[in-house]
Symmetry: D2
Subunit: 140 residues, 4 copies
């Protein structure tokens, strides 16, 4: 993959290879507390019945990127917890990759805000997501 | 399943058994143009690395329910198209089922709005989603 | 006014009669930590150029109601702070009153979530708002 | 003011000097179908009781900017109509100006999406708003 997560904690690094992220096929490319880059190959299992990528896939990608980016920034003192996910859909994707870039907009004491852009292989903006991530004390 | 979709078009009825909905395990229980009930059994493939259901799962459930409910109401003259998905997370789910109920709040000429509630086996509200669905002319 | 805020702190009770709330004409009718009722008389100063109530008025009403309801519940140990405001517009209001009801959906340790409905004199739902309010320690 | 609205229709140009926009003090500085710049001087009438600018002011500014920018782009064939307003609050403003920049993210056939940033006199990002504006046929 060639992933070189600049300030990545080894405990966090491979989290996206587990569970739901693996199930829909997330591929993390860059992970940083200010910017995260990822992609997802479009497969039949990600489509709506009409042949377009399901809206929940975009929301899931955004959620994971913002959570992981925040986690890189606050772990192990604090842990990220998704608070809200606002995703708007602009243009369908039918094949190829979903290319996603998350940029941090706010690093507050208790919440971080990320803007995520999701594009197709032609670089056209297909969805945008605004993620609000709470940072909490880890449970013992 | 015992699904009896009151005003369901046969072409629409089984759409949720395909693609991404099948991939994460959506089970539609009631489908109507005003109210949709569904559930999803929690499996390891739906979890974040920390063992909680991934936020994208809630968003995906809400998206499918609102789209299908709108589709039932407007098909075949018009087709639904997700416009935005705002999901807020309140309480984690770790096991059992995600129980979801979608209620239509607005039936406009060009957009429908749905509120979706997602609860755990104890009936506790765990997430809420506000879906805006555009209704469009079908492409030829 | 006949306002009888059940659990209202006297320091909080009249807050809506100051500043921006007074400027656009908020009238609080019931204030509780679970439910808030208010209304705003439509005046020319609240309209868009096309003669409809400006979308910012609905957002402002929702913000004040959710903040005040949360404040009643947590003050003086904690104070409310608006985190996000998602308002959807369904039907215009041109005259009469904006009738607003806010219902608390979540009372978390660090955030409260409220759903606000805004209706016209005929009781038709014209806008809905989902407010997320953080609760913080007061600054000394 | 020095406003030079590049592609501004004379019928649209002064709309922000009426009604609610005038009431809270909107000053449009640049108006274009891709980008809108505005500011609002902070006055006591715009504050919450705690002395911070009321969240509804940010939402109102974003609403007007996105509506007017869309209006410039589609008028007189079509007219803008606010569909949803998602505003997140990051940092309070107490005095000076609210400086706002709206950038169009999507120009669809039926909806436009704008991202609005609101900053203080020091250039710090204080709120962000995502506006969805429907474009409709004008009523006769």
């Amino acid at each position: 993959m060639g992933i070189v997560p600049a300030r990545m904690d080894p405990l966090v690094e491979n989290l996206w290879q587990l569970g739901f992220d693996a199930h829909y096929g997330l591929e993390m490319l860059e992970i940083d507390a200010e910017r995260v880059v990822a992609r997802v190959p479009v497969r039949p299992e990600l489509l709506q019945p009409t042949g377009l990528v399901h809206g929940g896939v975009y929301a899931a990608i955004a959620e994971s990127m913002a959570s992981l980016g925040t986690g890189v920034g606050v772990y192990p003192d604090l842990v990220p917890q998704g608070l809200s996910n606002q995703t708007s859909f602009m243009r369908p994707i039918l094949e190829g990759f979903i290319h996603a870039t998350a940029v941090r907009r706010h690093r507050g004491r208790t919440t971080w805000i990320w803007d995520v852009e999701l594009a197709d292989d032609q670089g056209r903006l297909c969805a945008v997501s605004r993620m609000t991530i709470a940072v909490r004390s880890p449970r013992p």
